[in-house]
Point group: C2
Chain length 497, copies 2
Amino acid sequence: MASMDTTRPAHCSRDGWEWTKQQGLRQGVPSIGVIHPPTRLPATTVVFDVIVAGAGYTGLTAARDAALAGLKVLILEARDRIGGRSWSSNIDGYPFEMGGTWVHWGQPHVWREISRYNMRDELEISQSYDGGVNHFTLASRDGNKSMSHPEEDALMESALDKFANVDGNSGRVIMPYPHNAGYNPEVWKYDKLTCRDRIDQIAGTLTADELCGLEGYLLMTSGSTIETMSFFEFLHWWALCGHTYRGCFEYLIKYKFRGGQSSFARKFWDEAVSTGNLSYAFNTPAAQIIDHGLEVEVVSKGGQMFRARRLLSAIPLNVLGTVGFTPELDAERTAAIKIGHLNQCVKVHAEILNKELRTWSGIDYTTSKLVYAFGDGTTPAGNTHIVAFGAMRNHLQPEEDIQETLKSVTALTSMDVDRLVFHNWHKDEYAKGAWFFPGRGFISSYHTALRARHGSIIFANSDWAVGWRSFIDGAIEEGTRAALEVIQELRKGKSNL
Amino acid sequence: MASMDTTRPAHCSRDGWEWTKQQGLRQGVPSIGVIHPPTRLPATTVVFDVIVAGAGYTGLTAARDAALAGLKVLILEARDRIGGRSWSSNIDGYPFEMGGTWVHWGQPHVWREISRYNMRDELEISQSYDGGVNHFTLASRDGNKSMSHPEEDALMESALDKFANVDGNSGRVIMPYPHNAGYNPEVWKYDKLTCRDRIDQIAGTLTADELCGLEGYLLMTSGSTIETMSFFEFLHWWALCGHTYRGCFEYLIKYKFRGGQSSFARKFWDEAVSTGNLSYAFNTPAAQIIDHGLEVEVVSKGGQMFRARRLLSAIPLNVLGTVGFTPELDAERTAAIKIGHLNQCVKVHAEILNKELRTWSGIDYTTSKLVYAFGDGTTPAGNTHIVAFGAMRNHLQPEEDIQETLKSVTALTSMDVDRLVFHNWHKDEYAKGAWFFPGRGFISSYHTALRARHGSIIFANSDWAVGWRSFIDGAIEEGTRAALEVIQELRKGKSNL
């Protein structure tokens, strides 16, 4: 079926898939996030100040901050590239976003970096409402409907507001500070509900179209199922987006990097390298992490050993269970790791010949395995780029049966597909899912435990960020926190042991 | 009239004024922003990597980042305290904000720091709508009106939206990216208008109450006059606040530090000191800055001389003209300095015995020299804290005639004043005004020139920030930018000369 390209050039990642009419399915796509040569280590064995396990935005931020502060840093990364669950592949002059994509100035950690790297002018808007079909398709249980984008907005605003409006003020009373979500302790009762539970509470108030739009939207946010996803976590997203659907649209899916996410990640990387304090080894997944007290030892799957005074684990929640820790992790964190998060989002890019669909969007809750899609750009060839999202409900493994994937794409609306690009996050052993989305009760039970340190090991990941948890912003928040902790500890020359 | 307290304790600043019924008017108020002892200099003469002139948030951020990166930093500050135009005085256990006050997670640079210093839980909300009079007073040209706060919000939303809605979409088309204000070049035509010009365009659509509320609001934002303030700059604020009055309220005057601004500024300071790379001299205003090429020399007003490889001037626009530069500054920057900005906001705090006014707000465009006021807190003594703003129109110098100041406060609404606290920014020789607010054409003409460097001198200040210009956020933005520039230059070992 798929052929592994063994002659792949240095800038090509093993991650990701591309299918074209001409060449069929191929594994591995190019990315400026691939670092070559993949290893830079000192000639002799040294004890680093800090080893950062993982080169997603958390690890990149932490490594950069620590290296800037003069610490000797080693990044160990399982993959052949930086960026973790956010990376872009530039194919024929067009960046396809394989994971995390959109940014906004209301995401404070992201924006501080965009400002610092003077990239404010490097954003563009995904959607277009200029010409073409300029409509939204809702494939609901009672048939396909076409409506204008303002009608789409009105439908979604109404549906989402009914869903989130638990306090008569669109959630502003129950969660006034999104960066301190439990400020009103009354909010925690909503972590006992799944989104299905909440829909059941308001079912009588929703029209059939609203219910369909809402369910499609919820599946897009969680990549899971409505029966499992936490209503509290959705309220957190809602509050982060200013308690409006307009906010959800603007913060979550509107502004992206003209040059792709990897152009942003490279800024962190290049700055960290420029300090002269960064060593690194790609293709080096951690297998064992042993806290000896004054030093932490990391043994890679390939048997290499590295030592440092502190270890900063930027390993995602769903992957932590594949790494051995000595001493053993505490019972709460172990339980949280065992449960994991739910998000198995399927994101498929389609380059299509239909120019008129540049202004299209759609939700399909019935026929397609892809639930939510919209025109996301125009390629240099003049084709339309459609991005489509699927979830755990009616799950799709895009590379396993490319005809079924094509069928799911074209079921959304009629289109002539020239190329597909995607990353199967579900099968990715270093992610085991997409962005964090928890089941009910998970945050109430485990958020504090996941943020705690373990001897000389600090755990940092967007999966347990405080603010924009699950987002690139949360990753930078966590990397910033962890780096500061390590820098201050090592400066004081104190050990916590 | 006023007596200078020569026995002032070490934590008391020369800045600020306090008046009480019991003790009358006194100059100087306590602040945790006062650094004691005020000087820490190396025993022998050294050439620093960078001298940072000014210890407001720009200078604090730059000095901290540079010191963290291992550079040898000297802060020179004219005052006896950190914080510049944002500082708090804790009096009888209550923080009075003498300048910049409110913060929000939509201010990315501020929020990154609040998150990094783990101060997310240290915010409180200024306004209360619980009990008391719970109303808004509008003293318009045709008499006093009392309305509920929801009525106030509806009035202001209507007035401000009419004012800003130049494109049929509340300004979202003309300024879609507030952090790239000129993204739609059509917007620049609005920098040719004053706010009076814009009011004239829409005058027929405003009710008398809306006009009054709008004018009061505009004077509060600019501290100047409606006839001089740039409409473009107001549009920029509006866009930053999400193009809604609700946003203006939430971003601009809602959330403040429970411990006062100086509790935030101290975090930057303490971290910079902890690096071991920071020297400093308070009470040391710069008089001459001489760029010798490989080194920059600063001569203080007291005749002390300091040298560094780079100078980072965090001196505000309205003060730059008091410093001599060699070589001379370019013609454009010199012209901008000569024009300056307009903001001569008068901010007066009143501690009053009227508990019921905790839930009051008011705009007075007729009888009082203070235009806009609201209940801002409750002091430990159980009194209400009212904050009031005046502008250049009908200007007040609060300490010159305390009876007139009291009259202006009580003209807003009847109240029994126990204490007044304020900082006269107009007479402050190291500020010469409050936050930056420009006249028409200023940003179009001078923004680029103000951001340019001058040999080994880098100019950084919120007054010419890109995003939240005039705000604490803009100051941190600028300090971040300047520090990165210096760090990268000195790391490369290259000189720009």
